[in-house]
Symmetry: C2
Subunit: 229 residues, 2 copies
DNA sequence: AATTTATGCGTACGTCATACGCAAAACGCG
DNA sequence: CGCGTTTTGCGTATGACGTACGCATAAATT
C-alpha cells in the first residue's frame, strides 16, 4: 500500500468542481478559494493536486469537450459537417471554453479524441496525411472562432437586449462615412444589419452554416483538383 | 473657453501607453497602476478618462489594428488573399490582441475600416450583400483563430524550445492508442508531426496559407455556382 | 508504539481593480 | 485682482485574488 495520508480529492475532482462553477456562474467566478469551498476543503489544499491555477485551466480546457460523437455513415462532407456542428455544440455547453488561453498543442485525451474524429471524417479521401491535418485544424480554428464570437454576442444581447435589437444597423449608419468606407456603407444601406434581432438564434446559426459551407466547398474543390491531377 | 482644470492626458494617451506596455511585456503587465506610472500620473487619475479597465481593453482592441492597407488591383481572390495576410500581420504586431475578450460587434473606427476593406475586396463579384458580409466575417474569424493559435504556439516554443523541438510527434506516439484513435494514429505514423521544429516560421505560415487557400477555394466555388444559377 | 511519508491547511504577502472624498488648478465674472 | 464654480488629480482604503511557507495531521511501515 501507499504510505501517507490518503488524498481526500484528486485533480479530476477539482477540475469537475471548477467546470461546474464556470458553467453556472462564468469563468470569472472560478477562484481557487471558490473551488475549494465547493469541495469542502481549504484553499491551499488544492495545490497538492494542481500546480497552479493555470494548470487547472488547462485541465478544464481539455475536459470541457466531453467525448466526440460517433460520426454518421456517409461521405466525408456529411461527416465533416456533422463533426463541425458537434464541436460547436460541445463548446456551447461550456461558454467559457474560448476564454481559456491556449497553452500549447493538443495533448489532453479529449482534445486528441476530437482531433481523431475530425481526421476520421476524411477517411477515404485522396488527401495526404498532412493535408488532412490542415483541413481539420483549419476547420477547428474556424469553429472555435465562430463560437467565441457567437458566445460574446449572445452574452451582450442577454445583458442588454435593448442596446442590440435592431440598433446595430442604426449605429453603423451613423458611424460609417460613405466616402471613406464605400463597401461597408453599401451593405449597411442594403439593410443587412437591419434585422429586428441581430442575434436571433436562427440568424447566428445561419451565419455559421454559411461559413462552414464555404470551407467545405473549398475542401471539395481541393479534393477535386487532386483527383484530376 | 472651458472651465476647470485642464486634462493632462486623455483616453487616447492612456490607450497608447497601455498598448506600448502590452507590446513590450505582454497583456498581463498592463495594470492601471503600471499605465499610470508610464504616463507620470497617479493610478486613480486614469479613471477620469476611462470608465474601467474593461473599457480600456476595448479601446486597446480597436486601436491595435492600425489602418487597413490599400488593396492591390486585381481579382477578388488576390485582393482577399492580400487582405487576410494583412489582418494576420496586423495581429502579429500586437500578439496580445486575441487575448482581449470580445465585447460586442465591431464599432471602433479601425475595426470598421478593416471590415470595409474586406468587403471592398469583393467588389465586382455577384455576391449578395449578406453573402459578402458572411464571407468577410467568416474569413475574419478564421484569421483571428489562426493567429491566436500561432501566437500561443510561438510563445510556448520561445519559452521552452527543448520541449517543442520534434517532441510533439514523440509525445503523440505515446499518447495515441491506435485502436481508439485510428485516424490520428495514421497521420502520426505518417510522420506529419515529426518535423525538426514543429513551430518553424515557415511551417506555421504554410499551415495558414493552406487554410486560407481552402476558404477562398470555397468562395470561388460559391461564386461559380451563383453564376450558373 | 515509533517512524516515515504524504496530505490538509492557517497565516501572510504582494498585486490588483476601484469606490470615495478632498485637494488643486483653471476658468468666468465682478 | 479676487471670488466662486467647475473639472481634473490623486491619497487612502477595501476586498478579492494567487500562492509561498511551514506546521499539523493522518495513514502505512517498522
Amino acid at each position: 500500500m501507499k504510505r501517507g495520508r490518503k488524498p481526500s480529492i484528486d485533480a479530476a475532482d477539482i477540475t469537475r468542481a471548477a467546470i461546474a462553477i464556470a458553467d453556472a456562474e462564468g469563468l470569472a467566478a472560478v477562484s481557487m478559494a471558490r473551488v475549494a469551498q465547493e469541495l469542502g476543503n481549504a484553499t491551499m489544499a488544492l495545490y497538492r493536486h494542481v500546480k497552479s491555477k493555470d494548470e487547472l485551466l488547462a485541465l478544464m480546457s481539455d475536459s470541457a469537450m466531453e467525448d466526440p460523437p460517433v460520426l454518421p455513415a456517409g461521405g466525408w462532407r456529411e461527416r465533416l459537417w456533422f463533426w463541425a456542428k458537434a464541436v460547436l455544440e460541445g463548446i456551447s455547453r461550456h461558454p467559457w471554453f474560448p476564454q481559456i488561453p491556449i497553452s500549447g498543442p493538443p495533448v489532453g485525451p479529449h482534445s486528441l479524441a476530437w482531433f481523431d474524429a475530425g481526421l476520421g471524417a476524411l477517411d477515404g479521401t485522396p488527401l495526404e496525411p498532412g493535408e488532412k491535418v490542415g483541413v481539420v485544424m483549419g476547420l477547428m480554428t474556424f469553429v472555435h472562432g465562430e463560437a467565441r464570437l457567437r458566445i460574446a454576442l449572445t452574452r451582450g444581447f442577454q445583458e442588454d437586449p435593448a442596446a442590440f435589437n435592431g440598433r446595430y444597423g442604426k449605429v453603423l449608419r451613423e458611424l460609417v462615412d460613405g466616402k471613406k468606407m464605400p463597401a461597408l456603407a453599401a451593405v449597411v444601406d442594403a439593410g443587412v444589419f437591419d434585422v429586428d434581432d441581430l442575434f436571433d438564434v436562427e440568424d447566428v446559426a445561419a451565419e455559421f452554416d454559411f461559413g462552414l459551407h464555404l470551407f467545405l466547398e473549398g475542401v471539395a474543390a481541393h479534393i477535386a483538383s487532386k483527383g484530376s491531377a
